[in-house]
């Protein structure tokens, strides 16, 4: 875990059982997230992109523990020494053959894990830690309680956790709402009295009220009109500067994600297939899937004829994932090995990770001319 990492998710796995009964009975699973690892540095934005069903939203929900993972670790706002100690212990456990010593090691690891792994926090600790990890969802109409006044919505987590005494509630709410540009006259109003853009501002106010370190933004502007989107994106950028918060930013609109993110991870069938700084990913995408994705995005003023670039094909079923690389069927650069083995996410260029056998490694840029 590098020094400034705020969050490190390791090998996240989540499958949803296909509903029992009917023809689908028989323990089948939709493999939504299949071994996803990534870090988010402090005060930075990681964008997650990919088409519907690629696991973006499930990944976000796993971080929040809205759904519990089938496997994986989550280190959030932890001193690196502690997480490293756990990693060392687990490596030792992996090598240990003697059953008695294994039991001792397991106990030790278990104790350590409870202290550092977000996924093993119990309810009371989770409640406290969650203040540091907030969220903004797509539809502010659904995520704001229609029966609560705005001042209650915004300060509820603070009052609940005893961070703000009841008497100071209105003052605190007024302060936060001012940051997001909602006038103090709105304090006693209800969500339905606001427009969509204003409601999203209120969601943002609630998210930043407790000075979180990470805000997970799942399609925060996709339900908004184009002329309102830029207001909200600018607000998110201003808040990041002021509050030094990190964002995990999910959106299907690539132009939005590329604009707001420092780094971007591309997901396909529940896996990260490429990760790089935003500019680098746009200018030099390595993975054939990323290349396809960028080629089909309509770009203003680029005279790009996306109708010529489209290729047939759709992602495979998440219930029966094929062996090997899941992009094999659609890939223009596939090799024989791709059908049998799954490529790992490895560094192909400095700071640029990609999971593809067809992409050569070139970590040190050649200085020859």
């Amino acid at each position: 875990m590098p020094e400034e990492t705020l969050l490190y998710a390791k090998n996240l796995v989540k499958g949803y059982p296909v509903k029992a009964g009917g023809f689908a009975a028989g323990g089948e699973k939709i493999h939504a997230v299949n071994g996803v690892s990534f870090g988010i540095p402090a005060n930075r934005t990681l964008g997650l992109v990919g088409e519907s069903g690629c696991g973006k939203t499930t990944t976000a929900r796993l971080l929040l523990r809205v759904v519990e993972p089938d496997g994986g670790r989550l280190y959030f706002d932890q001193a690196p020494e502690k997480t490293e100690a756990l990693e060392r212990l687990e490596a030792a456990l992996f090598r240990e053959a003697d059953p008695r010593r294994r039991t001792a090691l397991e106990k030790e690891a278990e104790a350590l894990r409870e202290g550092v792994d977000f996924f093993s926090y119990r309810a009371d600790r989770l409640k406290r830690e969650r203040l540091k990890m907030q969220y903004i969802f797509q539809d502010p109409t659904l995520s704001l309680d229609p029966k609560m006044q705005i001042r209650e919505i915004v300060t509820e987590p603070l009052v609940e956790n005893g961070l703000v005494p009841h008497g100071e509630r209105d003052r605190e709410a007024g302060k936060i709402l001012e940051v997001v540009g909602i006038p103090a006259s709105g304090l006693r109003k209800y969500p339905h009295e606001f427009s969509g853009g204003q409601r999203q501002r209120i969601s943002i106010a609630r998210a930043i009220a407790g000075h979180p370190k990470l805000v997970i933004c799942d399609e925060p502007v996709s339900s908004l009109d184009v002329s309102i989107q830029s207001q909200i994106l600018n607000l998110l950028l201003d808040i990041q500067k002021e509050y030094r918060v990190s964002y995990l930013f999910i959106a299907h609109n690539l132009a939005v994600v590329f604009y707001i993110s420092d780094e971007i991870a591309v997901m396909y069938t529940g896996k990260i297939v490429e990760r790089a700084p935003a500019r680098q990913l746009y200018l030099r995408p390595l993975h054939p899937y990323t290349q396809l994705l960028i080629s089909v995005i309509p770009e203003l003023g680029k005279k790009k004829d996306i109708t010529r670039l489209s290729r047939e094909g759709e992602p495979p079923s998440l219930i029966h994932l094929p062996p090997g690389c899941t992009f094999y069927d659609r890939c223009p650069r596939r090799l024989e090995i791709c059908q049998a083995e799954t490529p790992g996410l490895e560094q192909k260029r400095p700071g640029h990770l990609c999971a593809c056998f067809a992409v050569a490694r070139q970590v040190y840029p050649s200085s020859s001319s």
């Binding site: 002329s227 950028l237 690539l254 203003l300 047939e312």
Partner: protein, 327 residues
């Protein structure tokens, strides 16, 4: 220029609510040329979908179309046709595709049977002949294993395949005009590109014109020939898709283009332009120019609503804009 295949004149659609009547589309006029893809772009509530529904006289009470409105297609005013005559036009000479393909199909019949039904009604084909052509159409829109897919029920197809089937259904009677209301909004980027390619191919090869409604400005580039920008039920600007991007005339169009994040522009390079305020509600429009309250260039004249004016300059004969700056 050849005679346009569709002429819309002063289309006005109102909705009678309990306490007042609101105007969703206010005096919209435009032409559609043969083989042309015309994009209607606007934010939610600007009247773009109501315009499309009005063209086919599909407005349900409490909505109604102002009797002075005219939609001229093949020499007839569609708004004056009997329901029976109009039904023959819908799905035949003029076809429609909507946003959510799963809502457009009947879930109790196979996709093939539903396409065949249109062929039997409009073309009078026999059941077998119609089914055969349905399978052929599914192949034409490049649905993998189209033969077999014709026997599938809508729930067995993915969103992209369903939208292609919808297009196969729309194309089944070789319409001369296709009305497409956000047909790719619910679809992924790669599938969207496939659908757009299909529409473009059919319009340039098959002698079909398309009215394409979208909120996504980026879509028009490289796809549409001409663009209409709608705002608060009015056309604010209309010109070729190249001109709208290179020389947008209306302040609203200019502001929107600066507010949309573009691929290849990053946060450390440029701050997005923030348009103040929000889209007015149809029942609560400002008097005068509808964009004036948000406009950075408004001046005295804007208290009165301008007509659609020439954007000026030679070679811009077909560029119209509703703004006093061009008076």
């Amino acid at each position: 220029m050849a005679e346009p295949i569709l002429k819309v004149r002063d289309l006005t659609t109102r909705f009678r609510l309990v306490e007042r009547t609101i105007t969703a589309v206010a005096g919209v006029s435009f032409d559609v040329q043969e083989n042309e893809i015309l994009a209607i772009v606007g934010e939610s509530g600007c009247g773009k979908s109501v315009t499309i529904l009005s063209l086919m006289n599909l407005i349900q009470p409490p909505g109604f179309i102002d009797p002075a409105s005219r939609v001229l297609f093949e020499g007839r005013n569609l708004l004056e046709l009997e329901e029976r005559e109009l039904a023959a036009v819908r799905g035949g000479r003029i076809a429609m595709v909507f946003q959510e393909p799963s809502a457009s199909f009947n879930l109790l019949f196979t996709v093939g049977a539903q396409i065949a039904e249109a062929l039997r009604i409009h073309r009078g084909l026999s059941r077998e002949k119609a089914l055969e052509q349905a399978r052929d159409l599914l192949r034409q829109v490049r649905i993998p294993a189209g033969e077999r897919r014709a026997r599938d029920y809508p729930f067995q197809l993915s969103g992209g395949m369903l939208q292609r089937s919808m297009i196969a259904l729309a194309l089944s009677c070789s319409p001369s005009l296709l009305l497409a209301d956000e047909p790719t909004t619910a679809l992924d980027a790669t599938v969207q590109a496939q659908i757009l390619a299909l529409l473009k191919e059919k319009s340039s090869a098959g002698g079909m014109s398309v009215i394409f409604v979208t909120h996504d400005f980026a879509l028009i580039d490289g796809f549409a020939n001409r663009v209409i920008i709608m705002y608060a039920g009015r056309i604010l600007e209309c010109c070729s898709s190249r001109e709208i991007l290179e020389q947008p005339a209306h302040p609203y169009t200019q502001d929107l283009l600066k507010a949309i994040p573009r691929l290849g522009v990053f946060k450390d390079e440029q701050r997005l332009y923030s348009i103040a305020g929000r889209v007015p509600e149809p029942g609560n429009l400002p008097s005068g120019c509808t964009y004036a309250p948000r406009c950075r260039l408004r001046f005295g004249k804007c208290e009165v609503e301008p007509e659609l004016l020439r954007a000026g300059g030679n070679g811009k004969k077909n560029h119209t804009v509703r703004c006093w700056l061009f008076a």
